[in-house]
């Protein structure tokens, strides 16, 4: 019997488990293969929903579904927090002391937020990258009728490189619709010398920022926040006063990755094409947990899950796995409250940003709805 264990039932983990259940259904039914999907929570969380929570367009409850509704019945679901991985003995260990043996393991544990890395940020900053943060920001925004809103991209890398740009464009329109825009200043800060890591997106964003009176402060890597004085200071020596600070917080991988020796700085070191862990045999990593040179985005986790499913199915059947990941990434970009655009690219093909339109905005919302079918493997 071949035992496949997937740690983490987020976007990548659920898609992978369902693809394996589909691909290997005969082997699973015959008892030759077992697929176990592990998560510490019985609920699956779809994070892109959080972007809409601060503006009252979605609720945190909209982002959640029980895993049992999403996962194929051929997959064994196990709820528990994984605290260690022994890649020599080929076991994963749980918080309650139990262990689970594997022949193949996939790490799909995503990213966690670590705002405490920047002094003062926890006390002085808001964010929309998790459920509590998004709800607290919604209350703060509802009461905010004048002053300086600063959106600072602090964490590098961070999930969904499009979200900070989307947030300020949406905030601009939201304040306009409420007749408050003249009393609100908006500043966007970014770590490098332009408004986005990718030049085409930076150009697209800078043009819109200029049209909508959103100030951009580039080369700004936040070093500390003074919550009393309401000042954020950068490594490059710039200080900004704020009334409401919305930060994209620093991110890190799960501690078990470094502890298992799978990577030094929080993420699993992998081959960027095969997604095999560089430092342990028969271990893959997908999604935000994997250190590959592209976005930490749901679309990436999804495409990578397809690649690893094919490779694992090949290995189970004693075939040499040949499927590879080519860096394919797709991201929607909201340009305000009712128009959006999208970009797609891969390791070889640079992104092209099209003009925004209403249909693409509706496509993004429709995608977010149909996500629940995508994760199930229906779409």
């Amino acid at each position: 019997m071949t035992r496949i264990v997937i740690v983490g039932a987020g976007t990548g983990g659920v898609v992978l488990a369902n693809k394996l259940a589909d691909e290997l259904h005969a082997e699973i039914d015959a008892g030759d293969v077992a697929v176990t999907l592990v998560d510490e929570s019985p609920d699956h969380v779809y994070k892109p929903t959080f972007l809409y929570v601060p503006f009252g367009k979605k609720t945190v409850a909209d982002a959640k579904r029980p895993l049992t509704e999403l996962v194929d019945r051929r997959v064994d679901l196990r709820i528990g927090r994984v605290t260690e991985m022994d890649t020599d003995a080929k076991t994963v260990g749980f918080a309650d002391g139990s262990t689970l043996a594997y022949d193949y393991a996939t790490v799909a544990t995503g990213a966690r937020l670590t705002p405490e890395e920047v002094p003062g940020l926890v006390e002085g900053g808001h964010h929309f990258y998790g459920p509590e943060g998004a709800e607290a920001l919604r209350d703060e925004l509802a009461a905010f009728d004048s002053g300086h809103l600063v959106l600072s991209v602090v964490g590098v890398p961070h999930m969904c490189p499009a979200a900070p740009v989307e947030f300020v464009l949406m905030a601009d329109e939201w304040f306009r619709q409420r007749g408050l825009r003249d009393d609100v200043d908006i500043t966007y800060t970014y770590p490098i010398n332009r408004t986005h890591g990718l030049e085409p997106i930076a150009e697209w964003a800078s043009e819109r920022f200029a049209e909508r009176d959103i100030r951009a402060e580039t080369f700004f890597n936040a070093e500390s926040v003074d919550p009393e004085a309401k000042v954020i200071e950068s490594m490059e020596g710039t200080e900004l006063d704020y009334d409401l600070l919305v930060a994209i917080p620093p991110h890190d991988g799960q501690p078990l990755i470094a502890e298992a020796g799978l990577g030094d700085d929080g993420w699993v070191e992998v081959d960027k094409h095969t997604l095999e862990a560089a430092r342990a045999p028969d271990v893959y990593a997908i999604g935000d947990a994997a250190d590959v040179p592209t976005s930490k985005a749901g679309s990436v986790a999804h495409y990578q899950a397809g690649v690893v499913a094919e490779r694992l199915a090949g290995s189970v059947r004693d075939a040499v796995p040949t499927a590879t990941y080519d860096g394919k990434t797709m991201c929607f970009l909201e340009a305000g409250m009712d128009e959006a655009t999208f970009v797609d690219f891969d390791y070889e093909r640079p992104p092209v940003v099209r003009d925004e339109s209403r249909p693409v905005h509706w496509a993004k919302l429709a995608y977010n709805q149909s996500y629940w079918l995508t994760a199930r493997g229906t779409l």
Partner: protein, 79 residues
């Protein structure tokens, strides 16, 4: 000269997608200890100007920049 630089960390950002090689570099530098030498491999020609500009602004040291057949290696030491 570059032949003698042995990086502590190598980032293969060749063919990197979003958000790009400089962001990959900043991510590593932030978590590295002072004195760490990072080699950034990049096939994106704008890195050869972006990276030195940021390195100077942030106060780190650009030790060398080496052009290979289809990519560049930029060696940066964290201050």
């Amino acid at each position: 000269m570059s032949e003698t630089i042995t990086p502590d960390v190598t980032i293969d950002a060749r063919g990197a997608g979003c958000p790009g090689p400089l962001m990959d570099l900043i991510g590593k530098i932030k978590k590295a200890d002072p004195g760490t030498v990072v080699e950034l491999q990049t096939s994106d020609s704008s890195s050869t100007t972006d990276v030195p500009e940021w390195v100077e602004k942030a106060g780190h040291d650009l030790l060398d920049s080496v052009e290979h057949d289809d990519y560049w290696s930029l060696y940066v030491e964290k201050a």
